[in-house]
Amino acid sequence: METSNVAIQQQVADNTSQDVSKGRKIVRPPTLRIIPPLNFCPVERQLYRSGQPSIINQSFLQQLNLKVILWLASEEPLDDFLEFCNDSNIKIEFVGLIDETYGHGQMNPWDSLNEGTIKKALELIVNKDNYPLLVCCGMGRHRTGTVIGCLRRLQGWNLASVSEEYRRFTGARGGRILVELLIESFDINSVSIDPERLPEWLK
């Protein structure tokens, strides 16, 4: 009698028939484990960066109370993710998709972002109405790194520190010179800014 109770509880907890047959006892409830997405990092207050979140990151994302997600990859996000954003009332801004409107000749997923796309992304970032805001692309490395790098220049950071931050998130294969050239040459004065809508830390 008692054994069968244990078995039922276990099935609820583990959901695997194999463990039930072994009849192991449950000694404590499963621990809550929060899993931030790949390459997650806070950038400034209520501004975050990461790679593409998956289903395992949802409880973490809920903690951030996001209002907008800035999607920089050239591909559409996974359906799970779109559904999650829809259910959580998070608006997704697509700026990096291969598209006539934003494309300006951008052809391949591995091409860097172009200046028009970076400008559009930054204009969303300098508007506090979009916060809390998550900036992400597929891996959270190069496209996210490009936009955050340009934001750092807008904040007046020196280029070496911008590069250090970019490379912290690029993984074993290191940074791309083309991305860094893009960050260096991006014309920060081309970004239109509404002083009324600037986040506190950018003033």
Binding site: I34, R45, Q46
Partner: protein, 280 residues
């Protein structure tokens, strides 16, 4: 970056009972060294020493003074381990920078452009930041953070110039003298980390900057423990640790983060309503 090496966990893990707990009350020692903004910075002569310093004090002859033991830590670090240069603050360089700064400026109201963050700077959560040891060219950047406190994890005396800067900016300094994990002898003390976390998660001290010398190992361990309080998965905690410690990731630091017993800090944090650490 080589991701294989840091995971070769060949080192035998020293038993927890090796840890020497300082006999004096830790909470007394961690009181801010700088309390009155109008007077000069007070140096706390009762710095909490790292385990190595304690071991030396305990096992060696009792005539060893505190300052000598710190020198010994510096010396042994420089002579024996290449990578451990990172653990020690170059005091000669700091005093040279001090002279250079005063030769150039007579005030801290200088705004240098472009803004230079200290190496390894990043926000941790809300108004908690991390970095390496701030240098004079980082002062303008630090001002923008409007810091209320700085938490420093080095055993060396806080350099004069930076101390003057903190006084000028009315920033409270907490210093916990701690040496890094140097295999196989020195071990970061859990007790010290617990005391550090108590200060760091207290909103009364925010915005706060946590730093050691390079912002890799000691700071990485402290941030790792903070992430555990946030219930982050260990894999992600290690990944974050390695991003900042690269290319000098230490397996022992990651072991420390994993094996740290959070019972006491969780009890303290719950009693003081400091948990959960929510994203604001």
């Amino acid at each position: 970056m080589n991701y294989d090496e840091p995971f070769q966990m060949d080192e035998e893990l020293p038993g927890q009972d090796n840890v020497v707990i300082p006999s004096q009350s830790l909470s007394d020692d961690i009181t801010p060294r700088y309390t009155d903004p109008t007077s000069s910075i007070y140096y706390d002569h009762q710095l909490i020493r790292s385990k190595l310093a304690h071991l030396r004090l305990d096992t060696g002859n009792n005539t060893t003074t505190e300052d000598e033991s710190v020198d010994e830590v510096n010396k042994s670090g420089k002579n024996q381990y290449d990578e451990d240069i990172d653990d020690n603050l170059d005091l000669k360089l700091q005093s040279k920078l001090n002279q250079e700064y005063h030769a150039k400026y007579d005030t801290f109201d200088v705004l240098t452009q472009p803004l230079a963050p200290p190496e390894n700077f990043a926000p941790v959560i809300n108004k908690i930041y991390r970095s390496s040891f701030p240098q004079p060219n980082n002062f303008s950047f630090l001002k923008k953070l409007k810091l209320k406190s700085i938490f420093c994890l080095i055993p060396e005396e806080y350099p004069e110039l930076q101390a003057e800067f903190l006084k000028h900016e009315n920033i409270k300094l907490f210093q916990l003298g701690m040496s890094g994990n140097k295999e196989p002898f020195v071990k970061i003390s859990s007790e010290l980390i617990t005391e550090a976390i108590k200060v760091v998660i207290d909103p009364a001290n925010h915005p706060i900057l946590i730093h050691c010398n390079r912002g890799k190992h000691r700071t990485g361990c402290l941030v790792g423990v903070l992430r555990r309080l946030q219930k982050w998965s260990l894999t992600i905690i290690f990944d974050e640790y390695r991003k900042f410690a690269a290319p000098k990731e230490r397996p022992m630091d990651q072991q420390f983060i994993e094996l740290y017993d959070e019972t006491e800090i969780i009890k303290y944090a719950e009693e003081n309503n400091l948990l959960p650490l929510a994203w604001e």
